[in-house]
């Protein structure tokens, strides 16, 4: 890939992307379109989870088929606390992150002993266990889920309740998460992750055992996805086991691959593309999947490197 194309992809695209996203509320107020604001809020929340997945999947080749579990854990943290009448964000958000981190630590420690398809299956298994545990919580709605009567409170500022303020909150979290993960990806730690993906044997030979690095990355990704889950509970004011279904985990993987593996901001593009396409196509026909399915297939067959690959039309980086 040429220097200019690389610059475009890695520097200009993300700046453009975030600039445009920052203007969504402006556009929404100008056109008096509340729907688009709410829609993009939902997209950005999922984008946070997608970026965290790209960190471990794209960079570290850890194909977790249970990543949606963290969305659910974060959401249920908010939901369960709300049921106990605890609405303060400075309690529920850290709890969401902590619980997710612990779950990631325990399940990651076990899962990362396996490789390849076995890793995929074990992460799926843990995701399913989280899902079924949630369905068994009849006190919190069980299978049907739990409606939240209100949103988290942040020192009485109404930060979470206003449409625009909540959008910018989610935007800020997405920006911070993306910047943080990009920073880590460029660090020595990130270099180990990327190197381990290319040649595990080489890393062992120079004295690095990738396991602990992978586990650390897995926990970081889990915590960020947990935060996304807490935001999701606020956004939809509803908490349900479906947030953790394997279909949800699959969708996250699709978003990441669609956007182009490993770039991190590509996952945001993937989330936008996936959800926007779903919405647009659904507007035309209730059978939008008839078009969406083959579109995905075409992207795989002819679009090397996902959407970002289409932008530069070059080799997978």
């Amino acid at each position: 890939m040429t220097g200019t194309a690389l610059l475009f992809r890695n520097r200009i695209v993300p700046v453009l992307l975030f600039s445009l996203l920052a203007l969504v509320p402006v556009y929404a107020s100008l056109t008096d379109d509340r729907f688009i604001l709410l829609f993009f809020t939902r997209i950005l929340v999922l984008a946070i989870a997608a970026v965290s997945l790209d960190f471990i999947l794209g960079l570290g080749a850890m194909v977790s088929f249970g990543h949606a579990a963290y969305l659910g854990l974060g959401a249920y943290a908010v939901g369960i606390l709300a049921e106990s009448d605890i609405w303060d964000a400075w309690i529920s958000l850290p709890v969401a992150v902590l619980v997710s981190g612990l779950f990631a630590l325990v399940t990651g420690a076990i899962s990362l002993r396996t490789r390849g398809v076995y890793f995929i299956m074990i992460t799926l298994a843990f995701g399913q266990m989280a899902y079924f545990t949630a369905t068994s919580l009849s006190a919190y709605g069980g299978d049907d889920g739990l409606t939240l009567w209100g949103r988290s409170e942040f020192f009485g500022t109404g930060l979470f309740s206003g449409d625009t303020s909540f959008y910018y909150l989610v935007f800020a979290v997405l920006l911070a998460a993306t910047l943080l993960l990009k920073r880590i990806a460029a660090s020595r730690f990130g270099r180990v992750l990327k190197g381990a993906r290319q040649s595990e044997a080489r890393l062992h030979a120079i004295g690095i055992d990738p396991y602990r690095y992978r586990l650390a990355a897995y926990v970081i990704a889990g915590m960020i996805a947990g935060l996304a889950g807490a935001l999701m509970a606020n956004q939809s004011e509803f908490v349900s086991p479906a947030y953790m279904s394997w279909q949800r985990s699959g969708e996250l993987i699709v978003m990441v691959i669609l956007g182009g593996l490993g770039s991190l901001h590509g996952a945001i593009l993937g989330a936008i593309a996936y959800l926007a396409l779903e919405e647009v196509l659904a507007g035309y026909t209730e059978h939008w999947r008839l078009i969406f399915g083959p579109l995905l297939i075409l992207v795989v067959l002819y679009g090397k490197g996902g959407l970002l690959g289409l932008i530069k039309g070059g080799e997978k980086s």
Partner: protein
């Protein structure tokens, strides 16, 4: 007599009924290149695996720099100073040549749980990495994507990454495999220049290179050593001649 850097003590390894390594004992002394040669199927790959830690020996000991490393993991042996180049190139193809070596330097400097400083511009890594690349005469390719190197250049990069770890011993698994005459010549010169500072165990098929480089040669046949000695001793050894009858020999 100076203490050996590497001491193999009665190593054994069998796969089912096939005894691949038989009561093998061998030493590598400081300042020497000790070559291991032998016909195909002799068990050289398994031996390397046993020394590096990929293969678990059935019995026997591997003593490295005075320490029994027999039960230790591969990464631990790497941390203790056991450097290795692989027979099937194991470089990091998506990284630049410089970044490949910088990773080796980074590994030498301790753990990599550093999350915030940019690694690509880290002078403490890059300066040393460039120095190593100069030693192996690959610095002109520092910014090239490693996957785009020629085969011979990749073999040299293998060596460079191993050198980045400041190894106490280099385990070289057929470094000349598939290299052309110029690249072989380059590698031989580089290895000769390193001999004084880093002892090496060299497994090779290229007899020319072996006889140019080796201070001592051990001959491995069907998992057991049939002879050990100076190049001249080996050249004239009747058992060795017999083992290689019909094999390509350029000595």
């Amino acid at each position: 007599m100076t203490a050996p850097v590497l001491q193999l003590d009665n190593l054994n390894k069998a796969y089912g009924a096939l005894q691949v390594t038989k009561s093998l004992s061998l030493e590598v002394l400081p300042g020497e290149i000790h070559a291991v040669i032998g016909p195909n199927g002799a068990g050289k790959t398994t031996l390397i695996g046993q020394i590096a830690g990929n293969v678990e020996s059935d019995s026997g000991k591997v003593i490295f720099a005075g320490r029994d490393v027999t039960g230790l993991a591969v990464a631990r042996r790497g941390q203790l100073g056991l450097g290795r180049s692989f027979q099937i190139t194991a470089i990091l193809p998506e990284f630049s040549v410089l970044e490949n070596v910088a990773l080796g330097v980074q590994a030498r400097q301790g753990h990599s749980f550093h999350f915030f400083k940019r690694a690509a511009t880290d002078r403490s890594l890059n300066t040393r990495a460039l120095g190593i690349l100069e030693t192996v005469r690959l610095s002109h390719r520092a910014d090239t994507r490693a996957g785009n190197l020629s085969h011979g250049e990749k073999r040299v990069l293998e060596l460079a990454i191993a050198l980045a770890g400041e190894p106490k011993l280099l385990l070289l698994d057929e470094p000349m495999a598939g290299t052309g005459p110029d690249e072989t010549k380059n590698l031989v010169e580089v290895l000769k220049s390193l001999k004084a500072s880093i002892p090496m165990l060299l497994v090779e098929h290229d007899m020319d290179a072996v006889f140019q480089l080796a201070d001592r040669i051990s001959v491995l046949v069907y998992g057991g050593l049939i002879a050990t000695g100076t190049p001249d001793d080996i050249r004239n050894d009747a058992k060795v001649r017999e083992a290689y009858l019909g094999e390509d020999e350029t000595a």
